[in-house]
Structures are given as C-alpha cells and as structure tokens.
C-alpha cells in the first residue's frame, strides 16, 4: 500500500530544503540582492503539489471504515526505548491534515507581499512555513505517543521564529517568548506522563519495543491513580495548546503581534493539536480518568466560551479580537468532546475543521485590511465606512464574520448546533446546565462580529481611507476557497460528517465502556 502520509510529511520537508538551497541558484544567475528570487514561487508550487497529494490520500482513504487508522506506515525507530515511527489517520485526523495542507498555499499567497523584498528574509519565511506544514501533518497522524510528543515540541521551533522573527507587532519578541514558555512548560509535564505511561505499559506486559504505540497502550489497565495523574499531565499540555482558560493568555498576544498568516497557521491549525490530542489520546488512553475529570473540564470549557467572547467584545485591536474569539470557539470544541455523546463529539471534530476555515478567513481578511491602512494600524477605531470603498473586502469579511457567529447556512452552524445538542444530553453530571450556560456565547459572538463590522465598514469613510484599493486578484484567490468551503460544508455537512461520525462513535464507546468507581464519583461531588 502506498504510504500516503509519509509522503505528505516528507514533501514539505523536501520543499523547505529546496527553498533553502535555491539561494545557491540565485547567486549564480540572478542579480545580487534583487527581489526576483525563487523562494516564494517554489514554496507555492511545493504547497500546491502537496494539495494534489492530499487529493490522492482522500481517494485512497476508505470512508466506510473512517474509524480505523489508515494510509499509514509503521517502522521501528529506536527499538531499545520502544519508540516507533508510526503514522496513520482516522477520519478526524485526515480532515485536520487536509486543513493544514489547504491553508498553507493560501497563507503563502496571502503573505506574498508581506515580508518585503529582502530575499534572505523571504526565503527563511517560506522555508519555515513549509517546515511547520510537515510537522503539522505529522503530528495529526502520529500513532506513537513518543513521536507525537517529539513533534508536539518540534513544532515550537518554526512557530517561535515565525512569531518572533517575522511578526508585525512591536511586542512580537515578547509574545514569541511567552508562547514558547507556555508550550514548553506544558510539554515537559506531558513528557513526564509519556514516560510514566511507557513504564506502566511495560510492567503490564506490553512488548518493550512497541510500548509507545497508541494501539498497544489503549489496552493497558493503568490503575486508577496512575491513570488520573497521567491524564492530568497530558491534559495540561493540551489545554495550553488549545488554549483554554486559565492557560490561554499567550494567545491574544501572539494574535496581536504575529502576521495574520502565521496566526492562521498557529491558531487555526497548530492549536487544534490540543483538542485533537484530547480526543484521540486522552479519551482512549485514559477513559476512566476522562470521565472523572469531565465535570471540571466542562466547567472550564464553558468559562472559556463566555470569557473569550466577553474579552473579544472589549478588544480595540482587530487581530487580538480574532484571537479571543478562538478562545471562545475552542471552549465549544472541548465542551463537545468531554460530554461524551456521539453527536457532540462528531460536532466537535467537524468544528475543528470549520473553525480553521472561518477563523482563517477572518485572520487573513483582517490582514488584508490592515495592510491597506497607511500606518498598518490594527486598531478597530482607525477604520470606518469602508463598505463603499472596498465592497468585496467588506463582503468577504462579513461572510467570515458570519461564519464565526455560526449563521445557519454556513458550516459552522451545523457543527455548533451539533455540539450544543450533543452536550445538552451529555453523560457527565451537570452537562445540561453547563450547556445552557454556554448558549449566551452564541449571542455574544453576534455582538463582537456585528459590532466590529459596523465600526469598520459602515458610516462615513474615515479621513485618509477614502481611496483604499479593494481586494486584488491574489487576495480574492486566497479568500475564495475558504468562503466556498464554508458554504459547501454548510449546505452539505455530510461531506465532512462521513469522516467524523464513525471515529466519534468509537471514541465515545471507548469512554462510556468503563465505569467510574463509586468512591471516586462521591469524592468528585465533594470537590466541585
């Protein structure tokens, strides 16, 4: 069988290497120091070929068995310490791989003029983006806990440089360090849990040379205390990534200081590792502990929904606002995952995809808007009345915004309603009440989207902004696939749901199959 995922991982790496080596070519043929480099076109070609490979992977994927992990490769990596190179995806993983692969060429196109004409800088930028793409594809398909951990940390390197080296805000370096420290801290806790998991697995009779494989680990009975400790270890790392209140504070800083393209990759794709990890590692590996922790997690998720939305309303910086809306949306995704219903879990999986499209569109369009301002101001108050001067930009922003507030007819509506209905009937105590508490989040979303649209695009044009150009062809090409995706998936959600339903049912079945010990349930009641 053709190793689709390995090829999908390797191709961007080849791309990054070729882009790096293109420096040699240019020095021989092109003018020294000119801006006529090969880096951007090369990177774009590589990322488009990657999309072609992705189509192949989709065709090879058997949707009838979407809950099975397919297209993969398993090879021994360091047998002495039990690690393997094991990649494979189920339907959810495949959708997230697709999201990363599709967004990369759009981000490259969107950032076409963003980094000026300095050839060295441009080359670094696109190489880092391709590197990040390889890591993202790999992390969504890793089926070995150690490999997953390594990729989880390795992603930080390109992400750090993209934020700190290529950001636009004055606080980019600070934001990059904050991002790095949060992620590293969470990662180290997770590492301890990963290693403990290995030793427990070995002591439970798992073959030591395969003891990091997820498929081997799911069968291990860890014992209540150990399982809960490890769940906490994994969960903290994922909650930081996700980002969930109270460990979210790095995200608005990053959103406000990175370029919109970086933010798109980071928040729309990379952060999905958090929720993806909860769904595909926490739940199957620690089913009992997941149920034990669910009431607490649900509470935090709903707090994230409301707090993120309220903070978004209060923002004066457009990109920070988009960042805060993500905190709110990640809350919904986590709510769906930890209420353990097939409907809610499928909704969350679907929402991971939709949030990527909607928020990605919003980030990129906001970026186009900011790039038009003479001073590149990110302040909402710096704009007004742009609907008449830049109608297409306004329209695209509105569609992306409406997708963010989950308007019926757009994909996000389907997923959000699935999450809410699913969560309402969730199994953990208090699911219904917490779900009702989260509903105002939907209304608040309308407030932050529509108010922002009103401030920026309606009224009289602000001084100096009367002659802004509308979206260029390149920018329309970036926005069109995202808007089309949101519309198509809005009307035919089954296109995506065929991929997520079976895995959702399987993970819920895995969790609900175990019982929470009675004493633990009692203790849990007294805790909360």
């Amino acid at each position: 069988m053709f190793p689709w995922l390995t090829v999908l991982i390797a191709w961007p790496l080849v791309g990054a290497a070729v882009v790096g080596l293109s420096a040699l070519v240019r020095r021989r043929t092109g003018p020294a120091g000119g801006g006529t480099g090969l880096a951007r076109p090369l990177a774009l070609v590589f990322s488009l070929v990657e999309v072609g490979l992705l189509v192949g992977a989709f065709l090879a994927f058997d949707t009838g068995a979407a809950d099975e992990h397919q297209l993969g490769t398993t090879a021994s990596w360091i047998p002495q310490i039990g690690t393997s190179y094991a990649v494979a995806v189920d339907g959810v993983g495949l959708l997230l791989v697709a999201l990363s692969v599709v967004l990369v060429p759009l981000v490259l196109l969107a950032a076409w003029r963003e980094q000026g004409h300095d050839e060295v800088r441009l080359r670094r930028f696109v190489a880092l983006v391709l590197l990040l793409e390889a890591f993202m594809v790999a992390v969504f398909s890793a089926r070995d806990v150690f490999l997953f951990y390594v990729l989880f940390e390795a992603m930080l390197i390109p992400a750090y440089f993209l934020i700190g080296g290529f950001g636009q805000g004055p606080g980019r370096r600070r934001a990059a360090v904050k991002f790095l420290m949060f992620s590293l801290g969470g990662g180290l806790i997770m590492l301890a849990a990963v290693i403990a998991l290995y030793f427990l697995a070995v002591s439970n009779g798992v073959d030591p040379s395969r003891a990091f494989l997820v498929d081997e680990l799911v069968a291990v009975d860890l014992g209540t205390t150990a399982e809960r400790l490890m769940f906490v270890g994994f969960f903290i790392a994922f909650a930081i990534k996700a980002p969930m209140v109270p460990v979210h504070s790095w995200l608005p800083d990053v959103a406000g200081n990175a370029t919109p393209g970086t933010s798109t990759l980071l928040i729309c794709v990379l952060d999905k590792v958090g929720t993806f990890g909860m769904l595909t590692l926490c739940l199957p590996l620690f089913p009992e502990a997941s149920r034990w922790a669910a009431p607490f997690v649900i509470a935090l998720a709903v707090i994230s929904v409301l707090y993120g939305a309220v903070m978004a309303i209060m923002q004066t910086d457009l990109l920070r606002l988009v960042g805060w809306t993500s905190v709110s949306h990640f809350g919904f995704i986590i709510l769906g995952i930890f209420t353990f219903t097939p409907l809610g879990t499928a909704g969350s999986s679907f929402m991971m995809l939709n949030h990527g499209l909607a928020t990605g569109a919003l980030f990129l369009v906001a970026g186009f808007l900011v790039s038009r301002h003479p001073e590149r101001s990110q302040k909402i108050a710096a704009y007004s009345g742009l609907r008449s001067t830049t109608p297409v930009l306004a329209g695209t922003f509105l569609v992306a915004g409406l997708a963010t507030l989950s308007l019926p007819g757009l994909a996000t509506f389907a997923s959000e309603i699935m999450v809410l209905i699913g969560a309402f009937g969730g199994e953990p105590a208090g699911s219904a009440a917490w779900t009702l508490a989260a509903v105002p989040g939907v209304v608040l979303a309308a407030v932050y989207v529509l108010l922002t649209y009103q401030k920026i695009f309606t009224g009289a044009p602000a001084a100096g902004l009367e002659t802004l150009p509308d979206l260029r062809v390149r920018e329309r090409v970036v926005a069109a696939p995202l808007v089309a995706g949101l519309l198509v998936l809005g009307f035919v959600p089954s296109l995506a749901l065929t991929y997520v339903n079976a895995p959702a049912e399987q993970s819920v079945a895995a969790v609900t199959a175990v019982d929470v010990p009675a004493d633990a349930a009692a203790q849990m009641g007294s805790d909360k």
Binding site: Q80, I81, F146, V150, L188, S203
Partner: protein
C-alpha cells in the same frame, strides 16, 4: 626449586593502553629533544595520533573481546567488552578534550600559564610571558591521565586499580594548577584537589587492605569465588569485607563527584583551566563510574554469598548517595551565578542520575551507564569548549598594557573568560552558531528528547525501574526537572536577554541572524537608546566578546553537537554496541 615461568602476555589486548601511555613517554622525550618552535605542534600531533590509535586498537579488539573476554598479565588487566567499551569512550572524549586544549583561539594564547611553576604576580612570571614560553608538558600529562583512566576501567585487581587511580590523578592535580589567568584560584584548586584526592586514595587503599585481610586476594572475581567456595582465611569476619568494600566505594565516589564527597568539584572545576575542566569532567567521571560499577557488581556476588542482607545494605548506601547527589546538584546548581560552577553542579547532578541507574543492580544497567557516560561526556566537553571562547574584552580607551598582553583584537585586549551568567546575555546575537551548539549541550544535559541526554536518562532510570526502585526513578525525574529549570534559565539569558554592552556595530557581523535586521530598523525606540548608553559607558567598561577558534576547538564543538543530536535521533546502532558490551556479566 621453582623455575621462572615467563607470563604469557597478549600484547594486542594491551595495545590501546600501550599506545596511549607509550605516547606519553615519547612526549616527555619530545620535551627534551625537539626544538622549542616545533615542540607544541609535535606534541599535539603525537597526542591526537596516540588517542586515535588507542581508539583504533579498541575497534580492532572489539570482535575478539565480545566473543571471549581475556585476562592479561594474570588478570591485572581484565578486558571484558564492558571495560573495552569504557576504554573507547575515554579515548573518544579525551581526543575531543585535547582538541579543545590545543586551540589557541584568535587571541593567540592557549589557556595555560607560560610557566606554571612561577609564583603568580612575580617578575619571573612576567619575564616568561614576554619571552613567549609555552608549557607543552600538558600534552604528555594528558596522555598519562588518559592512560590511567583506561587502565582504571579495565582491571580486576584492586592494587592495579589503585595504581591506575594515582596515574590518572597526579597529572590532573598538576594540570589544574596551570591556568593562564586567575592563577591563584587555579593553584588553590589544585591544592584542594590534591589534598582531598590524597585522602580519598588513602581510604581506597585502606579498603583494599581490609578486603585482602578478609579474602586473601585483591582480585575481585577471586574474592567472589573464594567466598562461594568457602575458602576464607578469616571466616566469620565478614565485617571486614563490608567495611573494605565501603571504603573502596568511598574512594571511587570521590572521583565520581558524588555527595558527600563532592566538595572539591565546584572549586576545582572553576579554578582549573577550562579545557582541562572539560576533559576532567568527562573522562574522569567515565573511568570512575565504570570502575565503580565493576567493583560493586563483582563484589556483590561475593557479598551475596556471605549474607544477602549485606547486599541489601550496600544498595541502600548507593541509593542514599544517589538521592543526596541529585538533590544537592540540582538545588545548589540552580542558585549559581557562574557558568563554570553551574556546569560543575550539573556534573554532580549527573553523577546522581548515573547512580540511580547503578543502584538498580542489574545487568541492563551496564549498557545504559556506558551510553550515559558517552552522552554526558560529549555535551560536557562541548560545553566547556564553548566557555573557553566566550571572553571579556577591555575596550581600547581604558587599556593600559596593549603590547605585552598578547595580540590586540580590533579595538581592545581580549582578557579571560566571561563566566558570569549575566555576561552571557545576548550571546545569541553575537555568535548564533556557538549559542546553538551550547543550547544543544544544555538540552542534552537536561534530557530533552531528540538529544543524546534523553536516551541516556531514559536508560538510567529504566535501570532503576527494572531493579524495583521505581520511586527512585521518580525522584530522578523530579531532580531532572529542577536541572531543566537552570539550564533553561541560562539558555534564556543567552538567547532572549539583551546584553548591556550591545551596540549596533557589534551586530553588523552577524547580519545573517534572523533578528538583526529588524533591530537595526523597525523596532524603533529601544535600539538608539541602547546605543546611547553603550557609548557613554563603553570607555571604562569590559565588554563580552567571542574569541574565534583557530580550528580545533570549533571542530570539537561541532563534533560534540552533531554527535549529541545523532545519538538522540538515531541511537540504535550505539545502543546495540553498548548492549553487546554488557553481554558478559560481570
């Protein structure tokens, strides 16, 4: 009348030792007969060739020894695969260490005093410096020390082990006293090391005497056989054996640098010339740990036959020492403000991690210990090599003695090493490659995945878990987390903090750096302000600069960094080798 029977000697098995020690002897002849201007080059080439040759013989011997261990000269040298692998590791690390020693850097000076015997601050010292004297005896001394270490790791005879201990220690005492700068500190370090080392040697030999009194032999394997066979001169006096083994262990733990026998480590590591510190930290620890493993594991067979309870108690001793060592290394290390002292405490902590594995008392530990020593040694030699290159520079206007202090580097005199952690701020901009290499070493010492240190710690701690000491492994992980904190702190200072003396001209050479262009341009307010303060204070200030390596040290750093990464990502071949090395137990 007995006839003299000449012993059968397997010369090939002795070849690695003979090459290294023989080259040391030749080195002394070189001192006497080779003209002064060619002496340094000759010594360096000789030393490197000897170590490479020793390593080559280890490789040649490997298949033979793995198939069948040999005892040479009546067991004085016992070549098991484990011992041979230790010889190889010591040779590799010593080779890299000598490369660092040999580097004169762009300042034109190596790290050693022109005449170490001159009293610091006297006119004689001044004369020697003006005359351009070079102390080339360090190379034979290094070879003797290395040969001693290789013998130390590969003998079964406690008396030979004692001799090897002295052969490795005495040159090190001398080398510690030879620093070019801060000479009083260097001599104080040597005196401390000598006194405490002599004390430890005395304990060791006293332990050997007690063991001999009990068993009538100083051969470790024979002791085990005697005990098991019930042929003991002093039956019922097993306390002699216990006390003897404990005293020998103390002597070895001193060399390992384990708490409570660690007190010399920070001072000696700080005072010794930095290339020597790197050599000493990596190689001595490797040899001493291997010797400790052999003594403990071989005597444990005998001890177990006398009374299984005693083995239990011996294990408790090692466990307690391991815990104390980890805790002291990690906790005291995290409050250090000097890079060399920080690395010294880090080496203490690593001794603790090694002991965690050893305390597991099982065969698997031998393999993981070897890997650990290699991983730790590579990052240690590399890290100290980086320390030698980070220097202070007196800015021109304040300079008093431009001529006699060596060649002048652009606008000021390059002084000694800048070892204050605060001085390392902003190094990431001044020397991105060096910082990256140092970062790899720190991450490896911290045990972050994809570096050799992770695989090493994984092996050591899983040795403890296999031995039933999972709680000790948990303590080890906790101590590791504390050490991670201080490694990261150093890394953060280097990469993220801006140097006080950072000026725009300083950034020009590394415009390649990702961040340089934006500091010069876009970021606005901060750069001009920094420039202004730098200009005001530069006149009376010592700034931090990075001396360029003349080649050898850069090669050593690069090899260490690349090897650290390769051993982290694809350790399987090396793990297979060390697995073979632990085939014959003990």
């Amino acid at each position: 009348m007995t006839t003299f029977v000449p012993p059968e000697i397997d010369w090939l098995a002795l070849a690695p030792l003979i090459v290294v020690l023989g080259a040391g002897v030749v080195g002394i002849l070189v001192e006497a007969f080779v003209p002064a201007r060619a002496r340094r080059t000759t010594q360096i080439v000789l030393a490197l060739a000897a170590l490479a040759g020793g390593l080559a013989f280890v490789a040649v011997l490997w298949p033979q020894i793995v198939a069948q261990p040999v005892q040479v000269v009546g067991g004085s040298v016992t070549l098991t695969p484990f011992a041979l692998a230790a010889q190889g590791i010591v040779a590799v690390l010593a080779f890299l260490g000598v490369l660092v020693v040999a580097d004169r850097t762009s300042t034109g000076q190596d790290a050693f005093a022109p005449t170490a015997s001159a009293v610091p601050g006297t006119s004689y010292e001044d004369l020697a410096r003006r005359a351009g004297l070079v102390q080339t005896e360090i190379y034979p001394l290094l070879l003797f020390a290395t040969g001693g270490m290789m013998l130390f790791a590969s003998t079964d005879d406690l008396v030979v082990m004692f001799i090897a201990l002295e052969v490795l220690s005495l040159p090190l005492y001398v080398l510690c006293a030879t620093a070019r700068r801060r000479r009083l500190l260097s001599q104080e370090a040597a005196a401390k090391y000598f006194l405490l080392g002599a004390f430890a040697s005395a304990l060791f030999i006293f332990g050997v005497a007690l063991i001999y009194g009990f068993a009538g032999t100083v051969r470790l394997l024979q002791i085990a056989q005697q005990v098991q066979g019930g042929m003991l001169p002093l039956e019922g006096m097993s306390v002699l054996l216990v006390a003897g083994v404990l005293l020998v262990t103390v002597g070895l733990l001193f060399k390992v640098g384990a708490v409570p026998f660690h007190a010399w480590t920070p001072d000696v590591y700080t005072g010794a010339p930095t290339p020597i510190t790197g050599f000493m930290a990596a190689c001595t620890k490797a040899a001493a740990v291997v010797a400790l493993v052999q003594v403990l594991y071989r005597t444990s067979i005998g001890v177990q036959a006398v009374d299984p309870q005693i083995l239990r108690q011996l294990q408790v001793v090692i466990v307690v020492v391991a815990i104390a060592t980890m805790v002291v290394g990690a906790v005291v290390g995290s409050v250090q403000s000097d890079v060399k002292r920080l690395l010294a405490y880090s080496s203490i902590a690593h001794a603790g991690f090694l002991l965690v594995g050893i305390a597991g008392f099982n065969a698997q530990v031998q393999a993981s210990t070897l890997f650990y020593l290699l991983a730790y040694g590579l990052s240690t030699v590399g890290a100290f090599a980086v320390v030698t290159l980070v220097r202070e520079r007196r800015v021109a206007s304040g300079s008093r003695s431009g001529e006699d202090n060596g060649p002048v580097a652009d606008d000021g005199v390059v002084l000694g090493e800048a070892t204050e952690i605060a001085q390392w701020a902003g190094l990431g901009r001044k020397a991105p490659w060096l910082t990256a290499a140092f970062g790899i070493f720190l991450l490896s010492m911290a045990g972050i995945p994809l570096t050799a240190g992770f695989v090493a710690k994984f092996g050591a701690f899983s040795g403890a878990v296999t031995g039933g000491l999972w709680w000790l492994a948990v303590l080890g992980v906790l101590a590791s987390i504390v050490t991670v904190a201080f490694y990261l702190r150093l890394l953060v200072v280097m990469v993220f903090r801006r140097a006080d003396d950072e000026t725009v001209p300083e950034q020009v050479p590394d415009a390649e750096d990702l961040d340089a262009s934006e500091t010069a341009g876009a970021s606005g307010g901060t750069a001009p302000a920094a420039l202004a303060t730098a200009q005001v204070t530069a006149a009376q200030r010592v700034v931090v600069t990075v001396a360029r390596s003349r080649g050898p040290a850069a090669v050593a750093v690069a090899v260490c960094a690349v090897a650290t990464v390769i051993l982290g990502v694809f350790p399987s071949p090396v793990l297979d080798l060390v697995e073979q090395a632990s085939k014959f137990v003990p």
